[in-house]
């Protein structure tokens, strides 16, 4: 028997693995190919088998015709994959920020486990979280598809519907925004270079009065400058491209930096005396403001991820 024929059948067998009637299928294909080679090409040899096998088609395509054509996720549910994953991941990202800030574990067994992480660890954790979210949504859609029931899933619109997402700003606004942000970032860098902080009690930079202690001022200033730099870089990139990936990456880094900012101890951070009773209120105010910003950035991240997901689906 020709090795070529057996190798071809072995390839088909590989793609048919798991089917009980595999041997039967292969026997029938073998019988067909040998008969055709004999009847149409005068005999069974390598040359005739090559032609017959080529006409029969690639092994994978042949095997696929025997496989059940039912989709893993029904076409009607495909659009939910991107949207639900985006929402879940945004929620996951937000909880990650909380876990980093409050130094706590969050467990919602078996869907969510948010360990107490540092900022660097959180950044490494997020891609894994994204894959887990994608897998979870996929699994739910898979079971719904296999149930063969016409389940109407909710289509969340709370501030993330693409129709409400404004198109990217025009280039001229990006340029103006970039120039303004660059000026602010440069000024902050200049202040930091001169005084190792950007937080002052007065506006007289020749004899400045520092708001924060040198150590706290340096740390917090660096984080704020990094946030300004991310915003500036994002606006710079948007001059050349309207890709929402730029915004999504910018949002993600900003969220991480806000998380880092929230983790900074502020009890002994002030260089001026703060009345004891005022300190908890200041702490609460700062935390609330930063969390509010984090929520806004997270919502923007959701919008961008939904827009990216929808665009990808539309291309399919």
């Amino acid at each position: 028997m020709s090795e070529k024929l057996e190798a071809y059948l072995e390839d088909i067998s590989h793609f048919l693995s798991g089917r009980a009637e595999r041997e039967e299928i292969l026997s029938e294909i073998r019988s067909h190919i040998l008969e055709k080679a004999e009847q149409e090409y005068g005999g069974v040899d390598d040359a005739s088998l090559d032609k017959v096998i080529a006409a029969y088609g690639p092994a994978r395509r042949v095997a696929e015709k025997y496989l059940d054509g039912s989709p893993i996720v029904a076409p009607a549910y495909k659009r939910y994959l991107a949207r639900y994953t985006a929402l879940l991941f945004a929620f996951h990202s937000l909880l990650t920020v909380f876990a980093v800030v409050f130094k706590k574990n969050f467990v919602l067994f078996p869907f969510l486990f948010m360990p107490n992480l540092g900022v660097g660890e959180a950044l490494m954790y997020l891609p894994t979280a994204f894959l887990a979210d994608l897998g979870l949504v996929f699994l739910v859609l898979y079971f719904i598809t296999q149930s063969k029931k016409d389940i109407k899933l909710p289509w969340p619109k709370f501030a993330v519907d693409l129709d409400e997402v404004k198109p990217p700003k025009r280039a001229v606004w990006n340029i103006l925004g970039f120039v303004a942000m660059l000026a602010v970032t440069d000024f902050a860098l200049y202040l930091f270079y001169k005084h190792h902080t950007i937080f002052f009690l007065n506006l007289d930079f020749t004899a400045p009065r520092l708001l924060l202690t040198p150590e706290a001022g340096r740390r917090i200033s660096l984080i704020v400058i990094a946030m300004l730099a991310v915003g500036t870089a994002g606006l710079f990139a948007k001059i050349f491209t309207s890709s929402r990936w730029v915004d999504a990456v910018s949002n993600t880094i900003s969220l991480a930096l806000i998380g880092l900012l929230l983790r900074q101890p502020i009890d002994n951070a002030f260089a001026v005396a703060i009345p004891e009773r005022l300190l908890p209120k200041i702490k609460f105010g700062l935390t609330f403001a930063l969390l509010f910003i984090a929520v806004m950035v997270a919502l923007d991240l959701i919008k961008n991820l939904v827009a990216i997901g929808r665009k990808r689906l539309a291309r399919q």
């Binding site: 299928i25 026997s27 029938e28 019988s31 067909h32 008969e35 055709k36 006409a55 042949v62 015709k65």
Partner: protein, 109 residues
């Protein structure tokens, strides 16, 4: 052939091939013989489509099969069942109705 027509032909063939196979099985036949018979009538059928179709028809009880190992090469022969005959007559009825509709429309124009 125009590739666009080719795409439509592939879609149309899906239904047509089922009727064709059930019609051919007035007598027992094996796969290669079906391919040759169809080709001799001036029509091409993809071999790798025919066998999965036969398997589906068999799974649903419209045809049966048995291996004949008496000759020099084993061959799997297919035969239509009573259920298959009933299906064939139903499908041919639909096909005839569709054909009549198209003929009437074309005549009106």
């Amino acid at each position: 052939m125009d590739p666009e027509i080719g795409n439509f032909e592939t879609e149309m063939n899906r239904g047509f091939l089922q009727i064709l196979v059930l019609a051919l099985l007035k007598k027992e036949m094996y796969g290669y013989a079906m391919v040759r018979t169809i080709r001799d009538m001036g029509y091409e059928v993809e071999e790798n489509t025919l066998y999965p179709l036969l398997r589906r028809l068999e799974k649903n009880g419209w045809v049966t099969s048995k291996w004949d190992v008496g000759e020099d090469r084993p061959r799997k022969f297919y035969a239509i069942t009573d259920r298959g005959r009933s299906l064939r007559s139903g499908l041919l009825g639909i096909w005839k109705k569709q054909d009549d509709i198209l003929k009437r429309i074309m005549k009106e124009r």
